[in-house]
């Protein structure tokens, strides 16, 4: 319990750090992008938009830095992220809400799949040490994990989308289709997700296999595994219930932490496939200099990662008694 409470404290601290980073970054930059930005938008946008910019950059308001900071924190706590400049006058929260489900569906499912498949291959490779799988998988996966995600996506578009024309490669669904809970629409969404999901899967699976294999190799050398074998337990029981169960623990936190990296990688996958998720929106916000939207998306991604880590911590506390006893 104390462990979980401490992790919750860490959650809040990190969240505060991310918000503070959001606040200070534009103010710290050389050449003061705030002033430049205000000058650029003045006259072109309405008074309310200008006010949004003022809260973000603090330029022109005449407020002191500390009082700006307090204002900013207050706004964030009450869920007021300002108004999107590009989708004006829609509030940022509403704009983001439309994109988040696409990313959750695509990246969430793909990440879980990569973790399960990768870990499985890792367990088998370590169990059959020196076997065919152990000979082929690690070196191959070392190389695939070094390929840029987005380039794999581009190659998939080239081969399966443009050349073979097997699958659609742009957007989340066909424009001619109307979003509804019909079979044709769901099938369409699924079809559009296949290529980006495969591109993500191929580039992320390697890390799981390699770390799981290496953890497993160390665990298999432990005495309790030898003991289990000596007792004459069935091999697959030794492999899964004795060795793998312990070898997977360090990977649980790693799994949650990598969500940040996967969401990061998915930004480019979404960009390449024009997939209407959070990452694609983030890059559009950057391109349109829609800073309120950009800041909100950065916070949203951070919160998503933090929640995942907190969940993984709780899971670790349940599965690993050592974390509970060592306070």
């Amino acid at each position: 319990m104390r462990f979980v409470l401490r992790r919750a404290g860490f959650f809040l601290l990190t969240l505060w750090a991310a918000v503070t980073l959001n606040f200070f970054l534009p103010r710290m930059m050389p050449g003061d992008p705030a002033i430049a930005m205000m000058g650029k938008f003045r006259g072109k946008v309405s008074g309310q938009e200008l006010k949004t910019l003022e809260t973000i950059f603090g330029a022109g308001s005449g407020e002191s830095l500390p009082s700006q900071y307090v204002h900013y924190l207050g706004d964030i706590c009450t869920g007021n992220f300002g108004t999107s400049l590009f989708y004006f006058p829609t509030p940022v929260g509403t704009v983001v809400g439309g994109a988040i489900w696409w990313t959750m569906g695509l990246v969430g499912i793909t990440t879980i799949l990569a973790f399960v498949l990768g870990t499985g291959v890792g367990i088998l490779a370590a169990w059959r040490r020196g076997g065919v799988l152990d000979g082929i998988a690690p070196p191959l996966l070392v190389i695939t994990s070094a390929i840029p995600y987005f380039w794999v996506g581009m190659m998939f578009i080239l081969i399966f989308g443009l050349k073979l024309q097997w699958l659609p490669w742009s957007g989340g669904f066909d424009i001619s289709d109307t979003p509804a809970w019909t079979a044709s629409y769901i099938g369409d969404v699924f079809e559009h997700a296949v290529l980006p999901a495969l591109a993500l899967l191929i580039t992320t699976i390697g890390t799981w296999t390699l770390t799981m294999r290496n953890n497993m190799v160390s665990t298999l050398a432990e005495d309790y595994v030898r003991m289990a074998r000596a007792k004459g337990l069935r091999p697959h029981r030794v492999m899964l219930n004795y060795a793998a169960r312990n070898a997977i623990l360090p990977n649980l936190t790693g799994f949650a932490m990598s969500l940040g990296f996967v969401v990061g990688g998915a930004i480019l996958i979404e960009y390449v496939f024009n997939y209407p998720g959070v990452g694609y929106m983030l890059l559009q916000a950057v391109e349109n200099e829609d800073y309120p939207l950009m800041q909100a998306l950065f916070l949203l991604i951070t919160v998503a990662v933090l929640v995942a880590i907190l969940l993984a911590d709780i899971a670790t506390a349940i599965f690993d008694p050592r974390t509970r006893s060592s306070r």
Binding site: T14, P138, F150, I301
Partner: protein
Amino acid sequence: MTTLSAGGTTPHAPRGSAGGTPPHTPRGFGRMGRALADSRKATLGAILLAVFIVFALFPGLFAHDSPTAEAYDRNLGPSGAHLFGTTGLGQDIFAQAIYGTREVLEIAFGAGLASTLIAAVIGVAAAYLGGFWDGALNLFTDVVLVIPLFPLLIVISAYVHNSGTGVMIAVLTFTGWSYTARQLRSQALSVRARDFLAAARVRGERASYIIAVEILPTMISLLVAAFLVNALYDVLFASSLQFIGLGDPNSVAWGTMLYWAQNNEALQTGYYLQAIVPGAAIALLGAAFALLNYAFDEIGNPALRPVRARRRFGLRLRRPAHA
């Protein structure tokens, strides 16, 4: 004067015996070198990396065209004169790929070395100083570690606008040290209780000396492995930022080539090589770092070595004993 030096001999005596580290290090290097030569992964990775370094140092030897001159017809296919064809602006793609090696390697080595160094200082200082400093540095490391890196890079780059090589290195260093720091801290914690450190403390060495001269050399293979991972991610991140147009669009770099290929709709219009060549180059350089890193992991943790290679290694060790 004489008394001083006479008095100096006694504290020198334990230094000699505690100096188990200095004679240890060259032997460690020798063993590392042999293990590296034995690993096929390391050999392949080293050859790839060496080739890229030669490209970066002497691009003119391999490519005879200027990478920036818009001197030829646009979107030419591959031919004897243009091995990989030309870009949408009429630049030679082969020349761009060769000249582009330099910027990528500058970023990989610059940011990779800098972030590994920061990580080593913070991680080892936390472990060695312990107490309040360990708590504070560790918390700081963990906070930086969980803030999602790539989105943060995008946000920073968006404010900076068209970041060149120097800014890119600074941003990647500033954001990329935390994972290594955590790794090195736990390694340093395991070294902390060893006798040679107690000896150094007893003879009154300063903490900074002990960290730099006594602890860091014991972690060389770990440091190298960490550098290789950092360099790999720096290559991938820098190229990604350039690809989405957050780098300097006029630079000669692989990520920038991909940016122009995307702008030119190279895939849709059939000029595949504009997208394939720079991406393959990134993948090859990334593979070089990844293979070397994997080999170093196996050296640091012998249990991970492939079963066959270990047997071969054993035979080689036995031979001089029989002779």
